[in-house]
């Protein structure tokens, strides 16, 4: 068995460490890129949402590199994500790709027994003891938390750095070094090192950079290729950005949700505008817009794939949030046709707008 998985932000670091520790063979798909999208678009139903297409591209590249088992997380609605696996299986079957799917649904939907069954399929390929397996999992979780934190720090510090480009360079180097590590422990050491280093980036405390929150559909805001690397661009502009949703957030949120104590701050913030979970992360999107205002951010950018059902609901609500709280919010919709030039123009125009607003406020006071 040679395992692979679709990309989602920094997940591949944790996955690499986990499978290294378990001694299971795996293939990390090449980072999502144009080729993955082209392959995915070719084989996917036209009207399916963008994440589906890029994921198909990831699988096919991995299969070319010898993968025969695909792990994905599932969900049972109300959004399309839960139906991804069935369609994807059919597509690969039609392409004569002989692969197994292991779908990690949430226990409440398929029963705890089935979960053990599916986890068993993976872990029976590892010769490690149960204790070692648990240790491996703990390390993987630690890694995803660390890398997400480093990344979040870099995005934020980018607004304050004295030498422009420092944080971006450090982040890129960190990722390069981490992925070349030979074991989970080595990766943890590397990440600790960079966690320390990032605090030594020279910053200008007097600067008051623009601050923008990135909100919207979870895949498109986490997987950088799908949003045309918006966070990198903001770093280049010297804007501080923040994104709450991340793989580590997802893990925590999923673990706590049966107890209903997940993301209490977001739930509270969204209450006035959207008090229920309607699928996807629409409630989070609305709640984060409110939180961005409370934390003194200048604006928020919502990103979602064309046709994304839950985010269309939040898009209808955001103008009210924006008006009530006096915070500009821009929606960017991405699909395989999104042109980079127009996209950048919109981001730049938004940044201009935020800058002008700042000035006019200064002026009035």
């Amino acid at each position: 068995m040679k395992i692979t998985f679709p990309h989602l932000g920094n997940v591949y670091f944790a996955a690499k460490a986990l499978f290294d520790e378990l001694g299971i063979e795996y293939v990390v798909p090449p980072l999502s890129n144009k080729e993955a999208l082209e392959i995915g678009t070719l084989y996917s139903p036209e009207e399916i949402c963008l994440p589906f297409k890029i994921m198909i591209g990831n699988y096919i590249k991995s299969i070319e590199n010898g993968a025969d088992t695909i792990i994905i997380t599932g969900s049972c609605g109300p959004c399309r994500f839960g139906e991804y696996c069935e369609l994807q299986m059919n597509i690969l079957k039609k392409l004569n790709k002989n692969v197994d799917f292991i779908v990690m649904d949430v226990p409440s939907d398929i029963g705890i027994k089935e979960i053990f069954n599916r986890v068993g399929k993976i872990s029976s390929n590892s010769s490690k003891s149960k204790k070692e397996k648990i240790k491996a999992l703990v390390k993987a979780l630690k890694i995803i938390n660390m890398i997400d934190e480093i990344e979040a720090d870099a995005h934020y510090i980018a607004g304050y750095e004295k030498n422009s480009g420092d944080s971006k360079r450090l982040l890129n180097k960190c990722k390069r070094d981490a992925i070349n590590s030979k074991s989970a422990d080595e990766m943890i050491n590397i990440l600790s090192e960079y966690k320390r280093k990032i605090n030594f980036i020279e910053i200008d405390k007097e600067r008051k950079p623009l601050k923008i929150a990135i909100i919207g559909e979870i895949y498109t805001i986490i997987e950088p290729f799908s949003n045309l690397y918006i966070e990198d661009k903001l770093m280049d502009y010297g804007v501080s950005s923040k994104r709450t949703l991340s793989p580590s957030w997802w893990v925590k949120n999923t673990a706590l949700s049966p107890l209903k104590i997940n993301s209490l701050d977001i739930k509270k913030a969204s209450k006035r505008y959207l008090s229920l979970c309607i699928g996807g992360h629409a409630r989070e999107c609305v709640g984060e817009a409110v939180i961005a205002k409370n934390e003194g951010f200048d604006g928020a950018i919502q990103i979602f794939p064309m046709g994304c059902m839950p985010e269309i609901v939040s898009k209808a609500i955001l103008p009210t949030v924006s008006k009530d709280l006096n915070i500009p919010i821009m929606s960017l919709i991405v699909d395989e046709m999104t042109g980079e030039a127009g996209y950048i123009t919109r981001i730049e125009a938004f940044i201009d707008l935020l800058e002008r607003r700042r000035k006019s406020v200064l002026f009035r006071s």
């Binding site: 229920l276 269309i312 898009k315």
Partner: protein, 307 residues
């Protein structure tokens, strides 16, 4: 008398008997929006978020038209019709979408409904009834009368005595809103084609069809449409399937693929609608499909005749 505005859009088509009777028994004056027309569509397009699907836009248009005529508008948040299933994220967020998109709305009746058991349904009916009257007996009465009427009401279409028959599938509001679907049923009948809709197929058969899937569809629409179309196709109970689907419908994008996978080359026509769909092209596609079925049938008849 309290004037309740009822938008004739989305699931109104499924539950109109219940809704009409319930508010009538409560002693409200009911103000309906007109059947969907150009003005309603245009206002819907104007006020709704661009990215939404046609039925949601049209619903906005219906609400808009009721804005100045009613004391309250009925926009229930329908979360679920069956146990462990969902409808569509847009239904769950419907009241929010509408309220944030159309200015100056009167109060909205938006009570959340999980219609998977009678007790819950009753509770929901009471929470609405109490906004209108203090007389609990009256609400109780209105509820049981309306539920009975709903159960007795005739649902679905099954044409008889046509040479060619097709399964007409899609979400109820696409099938029953004759403006949205450009009178597709009449058009078919005129071409001598009869239609049958999913309400006419026993649920047991529908549920049996979905057992073959790796994962049971969690959308009620998906389960129904998939079960209905594939059953009729596999048992040759119709000559073809016509699926009316709105552009940008996330659910249809999945269901259509699942159906295609199952039925092979059984005649299957997908008619996509949005506010730009032109009637001429729409008609041509229907005619071409019917021609194709006729040819197929002709060949089959010839084969069986030569046996």
């Amino acid at each position: 008398m309290m004037k309740i505005g009822i938008p004739r859009g989305l699931l109104y088509y499924n539950y109109q008997t219940f809704i009409d009777s319930f508010f009538y028994e409560l002693g409200c004056e009911i103000i309906y929006s007109e059947n969907t027309n150009k003005t309603i569509l245009d206002n819907g397009v104007k006020y709704c978020v661009d990215e939404a699907c046609l039925p949601i836009k049209v619903f906005h248009g219906h609400v808009y038209s009721l804005r100045e005529k009613s004391d309250m508008i009925f926009i229930p948040r329908i979360m679920r019709l069956y146990k462990n299933e969902f409808i569509c994220p847009k239904f769950c967020g419907l009241p929010e979408m509408v309220k944030n998109s159309i200015p100056n709305l009167p109060p909205v009746i938006q009570d959340t409904l999980y219609a998977d058991s009678k007790t819950v349904l009753k509770k929901w009916a009471f929470s609405i009834g109490e906004k209108i009257t203090n007389d609990r007996r009256k609400i109780e009465n209105a509820f049981s009368i309306s539920l009975k009427k709903h159960k007795d009401s005739k649902k679905g279409i099954r044409d008889k005595n046509y040479k060619i028959n097709v399964a007409l599938s899609g979400h109820p509001y696409n099938i029953y809103d004759n403006f949205l679907n450009m009178n597709v049923i009449k058009k078919l009948n005129r071409l001598n084609v009869g239609v049958i809709t999913e309400e006419k197929l026993n649920e047991e058969y529908i549920n049996r069809q979905v057992l073959n899937l790796y994962k049971k569809p969690f959308w009620t629409f998906a389960r129904n449409t998939y079960g209905f179309t594939t059953y009729l196709a596999e048992n040759s109970l119709v000559d073809g399937i016509i699926y009316i689907s709105s552009f940008a419908c996330g659910i249809d994008s999945v269901v259509i693929e699942l159906i295609k996978d199952r039925i092979g080359n059984f005649p299957f026509l997908i008619l996509k609608i949005d506010e730009h769909t032109g009637e001429a092209g729409f008609d041509t596609r229907i005619e071409a499909f019917v021609d194709m079925i006729e040819r197929r049938k002709g060949i089959e008849d010839n084969i069986s005749a030569s046996w």
